[in-house]
């Protein structure tokens, strides 16, 4: 069990790396891979609610700051995703971690696109439906891959299941 400070530092570094990669990624149909949202979902599945909500809030602030738009879109979305994925975890049944990642990331990405539309931000040439489809296609494989990979990284920093 690593100290809390090391865990928080690792989490902050992870969020910075995810935000940078998301920012650098090329957009397909105006959609970028939701790497920060996937990290938030992963943390929400493994950590207690207050900690995961705080992480989601900070991640949302970070995403908004790098989006070039007024703050509040991702800041309000990320805590919702964190709460939503905890509800999803309550549904009984055996699921692989990759399947959980694919489903959670896809739903999160679709909700994210709807959220952007609600906030009325320009969405380029592609319409909302096209963006939602593109978001699902991009988020599902990346979510599955990261959810399979992240537990190993989490173990290294002592981020055990709650």
């Amino acid at each position: 069990m690593k100290s809390k400070a090391v865990q928080i530092a690792a989490l902050v570094l992870g969020l910075v790396a995810a935000a940078s990669m998301q920012d650098l990624s090329p957009a397909a149909m105006g959609v970028k891979p939701p790497l920060v949202a996937i990290v938030v979902l992963f943390v929400a599945l493994r950590m207690p609610t207050p900690f995961s909500l705080a992480t989601a809030f900070v991640a949302g602030l970070f995403v908004d700051a790098l989006s070039g738009r007024p703050t509040f879109c991702a800041t309000s979305l990320m805590p919702l995703l964190a709460l939503g994925v905890r509800l999803y975890r309550e549904i009984p049944g055996e699921r692989s971690i990759a399947a959980v990642g694919a489903v959670a990331a896809s739903l999160g990405a679709v909700l994210g696109e709807a959220w952007i539309a609600v906030f009325g931000f320009a969405t380029g040439d592609a319409g909302l439906f096209v963006r939602m489809c593109a978001a699902t296609c991009i988020a599902a494989p990346i979510g599955a891959m990261l959810f399979a990979l992240l537990p190993h990284l989490a173990k290294c920093i002592g981020l055990e299941d709650e």
């Binding site: 920012d23 650098l24 105006g30 995403v63 700051a65 790098l66 879109c73």
Partner: protein
């Protein structure tokens, strides 16, 4: 006791939020700058040379062509310097003030679209430490790119001219000839054209320099369709194809006032 802790926590969150709204954008841009700059460096110093090594013969031919072009450009530059000197002398003689003073600073494009993938934002790898200021015009040789909306010490955020919130004072140029009309460019359209004006197809739209945000004479785009009456039926508007291929941008120039 629990209520007290809750109130204190809520106030703390609000405080953090308020501070973040004030300085967060610059801080976040600076935090990710090393990673994005590193990725940019890796792409230019490692990936590009590897790609170039695979297309060497074609590069040799292109190099010869560019050398010739360079010689032509140096000749043109010499002519331009002479014209500039003459222009300055005539301005002094007529006591005209200069329309725009300043220089263009090259900056690499670090990322496009921000984290949410909204297509009308660019992040550049030069900031206030290079003398860039909020509101500065951004362009490439092909035409106008946009305007700096936020600056941190090492980065600058640019809103593209395709953003409907960006408005550019323009004039219409026909075949390099005299100016036909003044108008406003916003969100891919020109507005407030005189009702009786007839413009040729693909008329060139350039910045007028009015408002002193964008220097005069930068190409904004070309008229894509015939102009038509606007809602008020008092003026005309038209669709404009931007001169710049925004997704292909790798380096841009930021205008720095003297």
């Amino acid at each position: 006791m629990k209520a007290k802790t809750g109130i204190v926590s809520a106030l703390l969150v609000l405080g953090v939020f308020a501070i973040w709204v004030a300085v967060g954008r610059k801080t976040a841009a600076e935090v990710v700058f090393p990673v994005e700059n590193g990725a940019c460096w890796f792409s230019r110093r490692v990936v590009h040379p590897l790609k170039e090594a695979m297309v060497r013969p074609r590069l040799a031919a292109e190099n010869r062509r560019l050398l010739e072009q360079n010689a032509h450009l140096r000749m043109a530059l010499a002519d331009r310097d002479a014209l500039k000197a003459e222009n300055a002398r005539l301005r002094r003689a007529l006591e005209f003030s200069e329309r725009s003073r300043g220089e263009w600073i090259a900056a690499p494009v670090l990322s496009r679209g921000g984290t949410l993938g909204l297509g009308d934002v660019l992040r550049l790898g030069k900031g206030s430490s290079a003398g860039i200021r909020k509101g500065a015009a951004v362009a490439v040789p092909e035409g106008l790119v946009g305007r700096v909306s936020e600056v941190s010490p090492h980065t600058a955020e640019v809103r593209l001219i395709t953003d409907p919130e960006i408005k550019v004072a323009c004039e219409v140029e026909t075949d390099g000839g005299p100016v036909a009309a003044f108008c406003i460019f916003s969100g891919g359209r020109i507005m407030h054209l005189k009702r009786d004006l007839v413009l040729p197809p693909r008329a060139k739209i350039i910045t007028s320099g009015l408002g002193e945000v964008y220097p005069r004479g930068i190409t904004v785009g070309f008229l894509a369709q015939e102009t038509h009456e606007d809602e008020t039926q008092l003026e005309q508007e038209g669709v404009v194809a931007p001169a710049v291929d925004f997704p292909a941008l790798e380096d841009v120039f930021i205008h720095r006032e003297e």
